[in-house]
């Protein structure tokens, strides 16, 4: 572990000095991403879908991605460029501290406290509890008698090429894509979409690029970027009786283009 940490900080310093040519040229064709969590989970299948699609893009650019999946961090043949996690809040905070030079993607922990903490290398791909609650509140205002629940994704979502993503996932895994699977897919896809443009990015530079320059197409009709809290801005779906009945931000209640009307928009002062 000590060795890994040293390697990581070494990489980071090289990147800061701009001496990226030699250290990265060797590994430019292969980019390793570490997955920490249950290999049987929907989130993991989603990340694998993202891997397939990242490689479909990488193939045209001479880049290959590998997803190394572990339940706990063990031996690693290569230094990963990022860690995708399906673990709880306390484990996340530990990992973020231990690997502070790597971007860490949180797929499933919805705790608001994680967003309030504004940990620099922690990126929340799935929505927070607060975002889900705000979406439901906006919908209640719009339809006070509705019992709709907010979701990040739904297997019947069709608009904005969501149908195409649902088809691709189902084809590969014979399962319907759910919220966690979407988050796994999105983490891998947005990482690859950033790296393919600048394959030498690593460490703090990669963290900074993700936080400031992302315009990700999560197949939900809007470009998505990260807030300073590390939360991915995104539209949400309102689902009642297993059917999509609306989208948030809710038009007519708030400005429907204002994704920051959902959840905590800024770090607490």
């Amino acid at each position: 572990m000590y060795y890994l940490n040293r390697l990581l900080s070494g990489l980071c310093c090289v990147a800061i000095l701009g001496l990226t040519i030699d250290s990265r040229a060797l590994s430019a064709e292969e980019i390793t991403v570490l997955y920490i969590g249950d290999a049987d989970s929907a989130a993991h299948l989603g990340a694998r879908q993202g891997l397939t699609e990242a490689n479909a893009q990488g193939e045209f650019m001479g880049i290959q991605y590998r997803l190394v999946s572990q339940t706990e961090i063990g031996e690693m043949p290569t230094v990963p460029v990022a860690i995708i996690t399906d673990v709880d809040a306390s484990r996340l905070v530990q990992l973020a501290d231990q690997y502070q030079y790597l971007p860490l993607f949180n797929l499933t922990a919805k705790d608001l406290s994680l967003r309030e903490d504004c940990i620099p290398n922690l990126f929340h791909v799935g929505p927070s509890e607060a975002m889900l609650r705000d979406a439901e509140r906006q919908w209640r205002q719009h339809a006070p008698d509705s019992s709709a629940r907010a979701r990040a994704w739904h297997r019947s979502f069709r608009k904005y090429a969501a149908a195409q993503l649902n088809i691709r996932f189902k084809e590969q895994f014979k399962l319907a894509m759910d919220d966690d699977a979407w988050a796994g897919w999105a983490a891998m896809k947005l990482l690859a979409d950033t790296m393919v443009r600048q394959p030498s990015l690593a460490g703090e530079q990669l963290i900074a690029e993700l936080k400031t320059n992302l315009a990700f197409d999560g197949q939900k009709g809007r470009d998505m970027g990260f807030r300073e809290t590390g939360q991915l801005r995104q539209p949400l779906l309102l689902v009642e009786m297993d059917k999509i009945i609306g989208e948030a931000p809710v038009r007519g209640v708030v400005d429907s283009s204002d994704l920051d009307s959902l959840g905590l928009p800024f770090c607490p002062k």
Binding site: A56, Q57, D217
Partner: protein, 322 residues
Amino acid sequence: MKNFSVLNQLVAVVVLGALLTTAAAAPPKRIFVTNEKDNTVSVIDGTTNTVVATIEIGARPRGIGIAPDGSEVYVAISEDNAIAVFDPETFEVLRQFEGGHDPETFAVHPNGNLYISNEDDAKASVFNPKTGEKLAEIKVGIEPEGVAISPDGSKVIVTSESTNMLHVIAVPEHKIINNILVGARPRAATFNRAGTLAYATSEISGEVKKVDIESGTIIGKMPLADDKAKPKDILLSIDESKLFVAGGRANSIFVLDANTLEIHKKIPVGKRVWGLALSRDGSRLYTTDGVSNQVSVIDTNITEVIATVPVGKFPWGVAVYE
């Protein structure tokens, strides 16, 4: 280089000729519009700007194109997985052929072949529309959409919406010679007349990019500075000075300087404008305003809407027949 400058001069003469005749030019004979949710094609009379016929064409018609000799019109009927063919004079549906899975957009090559994007297969396919024979398949990125062909027919661009790339394909080899990363969800592209430059829209990043084809590099970029702008079709004016961009939910056509990409004007049209077509002389631009169920007719000299034509439900593609 010498040949190139001769070509440029030739182009200049042709362009000048076109400009001089614009004022006196007759309006196009007909405009054909696919109505995605009606399974029909509306036929608009170019002189009166009214619908004179409606053709039952097939399930979910989207892309539309005309044979180089004007003898036939092709329509991608996506949910029938086919291309329908009709006669532009009699409006009779002549035949249909299999166009691969879920054909959406295609372009007609100067040699008459169709280059089709097959969204769910991550492929572009080449068909001879006379025989229905598939001539080639090219593996591209995920969710291929827009197809553009250079005027000399030597290159084809296919945009991959989920892979965020323009694939430049050489013809007749059907080999990819360049992959160019652009903004999120590239939907459409167009070449300049010389085939040296291309312009592409990205729907999710809401921008236009200008690309040098030879080097495969991006040489210009312009965000549309309207959060609702989800640009789709893009066309170059006949004199190559202006770009027309369908602004999607911005409900406007953006007019850009083709050189600097500076935005000159926003022309308000109907809701969710996607499709664009120019008359042969370049004096008229036709737009499909999907949610308004109408086509807007724009005079490209004054850059204003001069007529709106109610058509079927969710007009998608448009083609001008002279």
